[in-house]
């Protein structure tokens, strides 16, 4: 009997030892695992930057396996993502890193992939319901994006005026979450009482649609002061539309944009302030996370901590925006103005 007790004790010690070990994992490189980086669709600069970051991590961890950057063509984004997810599972990929553009529609395919032993790590845009997802690598806290966007609107409008939102597609999970968080911030804080959110329209992440939607907003709301566009395509198209029609004095543009694409509009005053995070870092951190999970060095439990190379320590935590889902928070992001945009655009 006594020996059994000792065995039990030893086992308990071993388990607690194991959990202590996972509490701060330094990921060990050199293990072979094939992985897929799956963006919303191909041909958009920020996704390519994420790929650069992932490739950097891939080289750093000396993974002898393959890192594939595959995505659907733009007109086939939703169906294409689901198909690639399914194919990756069939191929026995170690992990799929997904910037989800398919809403919850991708969940069955992602769950099937998990059952086949493929880890599913989302980045940039999560699976809204959290089904079929191991963990979401959040670029910034979705709640804090709301605060930053509300603050930029506040500073552009001088605290008082009308704002409209020009988003990407109506079912983009990340943009919808950011807009919702901005609406909460606007409603909750007395500071923003003078800002009226008059409309939310969608430009489908296409230049021509976004351009026309921005102009329609100006026509519809003669007192509009700022167009807030939480997408790099929308913010740029809206800025161009305001510039082309000579409306920059009247309507400013803000939101999330790439410095290299926005520099001229920031310098001429059409888009005085906008924000973004580093997509290379996002790709890098996502790769570390997926590698850890796929090689079994990470389990994917809340509270698990690991070191992601040059970026330092990260912890898996509960996602405050999506009950039951897990996330790793990257943050922070940079607000660009006429003072720092030129340096960042180089």
């Amino acid at each position: 009997m006594k020996s059994f007790k000792t065995l039990g004790l030893a086992a308990a010690l071993m388990i607690s030892g194991a959990s202590l070990a996972t509490a701060q994992t330094a990921l060990e490189g050199g293990q072979e695992v094939d992985m897929v980086l799956l963006p919303k669709f191909l041909g958009i600069l920020v996704f390519d930057q994420a790929n650069e970051g992932a490739q950097e991590a891939h080289a750093e961890l000396e993974n002898p396996g393959d890192l594939l950057f595959v995505g659907p063509t733009p007109e086939n984004s939703v169906a294409g993502q689901i198909e690639i997810m399914t194919t990756s599972a069939t191929q026995g990929q170690g992990a799929v890193m997904l910037s989800n553009n398919a809403g919850d529609q991708i969940a069955p395919a992602a769950q099937a992939a998990q059952e086949a032993g493929t880890r599913v790590v989302t980045w940039d845009s999560p699976i809204p319901g959290g089904e079929g997802e191991d963990v979401f690598v959040a670029q910034v806290d979705f709640g804090s994006i709301g605060v930053v966007m509300a603050d930029m609107a506040h500073s552009i409008l001088g605290g008082e005026g009308q704002m409209a939102v020009l988003s990407a597609t109506p079912d983009a999970a990340n943009q919808n979450a950011w807009i919702a968080s901005m609406q909460e911030v606007l409603a909750a804080d007395e500071k923003y009482a003078g800002i009226e959110l008059v409309d939310i329209v969608y430009g489908d992440d296409q230049a021509e649609v976004s351009y026309n939607r921005a102009l329609s907003l100006v026509d519809q709301y003669p007192d509009l002061g700022v167009i807030m566009s939480p997408t790099t395509v929308g913010i740029q198209a809206a800025s161009k539309a305001m510039q082309d029609e000579g409306l920059c004095d009247q309507v400013k543009v803000s939101g999330l944009g790439l410095p290299s694409e926005m520099v001229s509009y920031t310098m001429n005053g059409c888009a005085p302030e906008f924000a973004l995070w580093d997509f290379r870092d996002l790709g890098y951190l996502t790769y570390y996370t997926a590698y850890g999970l796929a090689t079994g060095q990470l389990v994917g439990e809340i509270g698990e901590s690991f070191t992601a190379g040059r970026m330092g320590d990260y912890t898996i935590e509960e996602d405050p925006g999506r009950p039951g889902a897990k996330r790793i928070l990257m943050g922070p992001f940079t607000v660009y103005t006429a003072e720092n945009v030129e340096a960042a655009a180089q």
Binding site: F41, L42, G43, I44, L45, F47, D48, T73, P74, E75, N76, P170, I200, V201, Y202, D205, Q206, A207, E208, Y211, N212, R213, L215, S216, D219, Q220, P222, V233, Q236, A237, K240, D244, E245, S260, E261, V263, S264
Partner: protein
Amino acid sequence: MLRLMDRLNPQVLRILALLAVLVAVILFFAAVVPNYLNGRLFNRVSSSVAIMALIATAQTLVIITRNIDLSIGSTVGFVAFATGSLITNNPDLGPVVLVLYAMALGAVFGAINGLLVAFARVPSIIVTLGTMALFRSALVEYSDSKSISTANLPEWLVSFPNTVLWQWGQMQFRAAFVAAVVVVLIVHVALSRLRAARRLYAIGSNPEAAEMAGIDTRKTVFVAFVLAGALAGLGGFMFLARFGTITVVAGLGFELKSVAAAVVGGVNIFGGSGTVIGALIGAILVDLIDTSLVRWQMVSEFWREAVLGILILLSVAADALLMRRLVAARAAREHRKAEERIARELAAQAQGPAP
């Protein structure tokens, strides 16, 4: 009034019917959208339709021959990107070279479609469905995930579309719109006056008869695709000038919009009839409805596409009904006149031999 209508040919009647629908749509939105009817509306729709007018014209050329070009949106996107890339790397190139480059590139894409449809005898809907994906993927590959940025384009190119040529009140006639209308008019005159162009209609209305009449149907269909490609290339150039920023999604969905514009504009989807003027008005109608729906608070984002679809169906139906009514009324009048004439002749005959 009725007599005037008798003298007009059916194509002109159709265009009049379309204009009536256009006015009805404007009046409807003026009633439900505050602050709607003004010069700015004209500026918005005219600037935006300048691109679609060219693409709908290209689509019309192909549809008349009983074919369809679904790859046209991808062609526009690729040409816009490649032309932008050319001018970014060679900023000193002049407008003429750039336009010719865009049109030549478009013509090459058109020739690929034309070869497969006319000579390999594969149905155009299948060929262009394939090339739609092919050209788009080629663009994704060619672009290398870069995008064309307005900042790297020469000033003349970026300012061209919005240059105001003349102004009437708040209404501005801008260079892009005027250029597009001029191109549409040239194609219209060519289609209605040139003997060679009439072959397109002949093939569309009856390919076998056209062949028996000695028309080289293969060559003609091939040429139609090449011309459509060149016009789509010109559309790509205009797209680049207007938006400046070109990513791989440029021109996405233009294939269906151009088919919608052509069909709304009275171009018969089974070939053989239709005018590019009609397609131009169709493009204006679709764009007007799209622009106006955004401003109509009743319709939420998720229903807009559906409402646009319903309005397109309604305007096509209204146009068809109106046309049928007019044609029937005319036939009835002609019938009545003929009866009267016969009655008079009979009466004359009856009177004739009596005395």
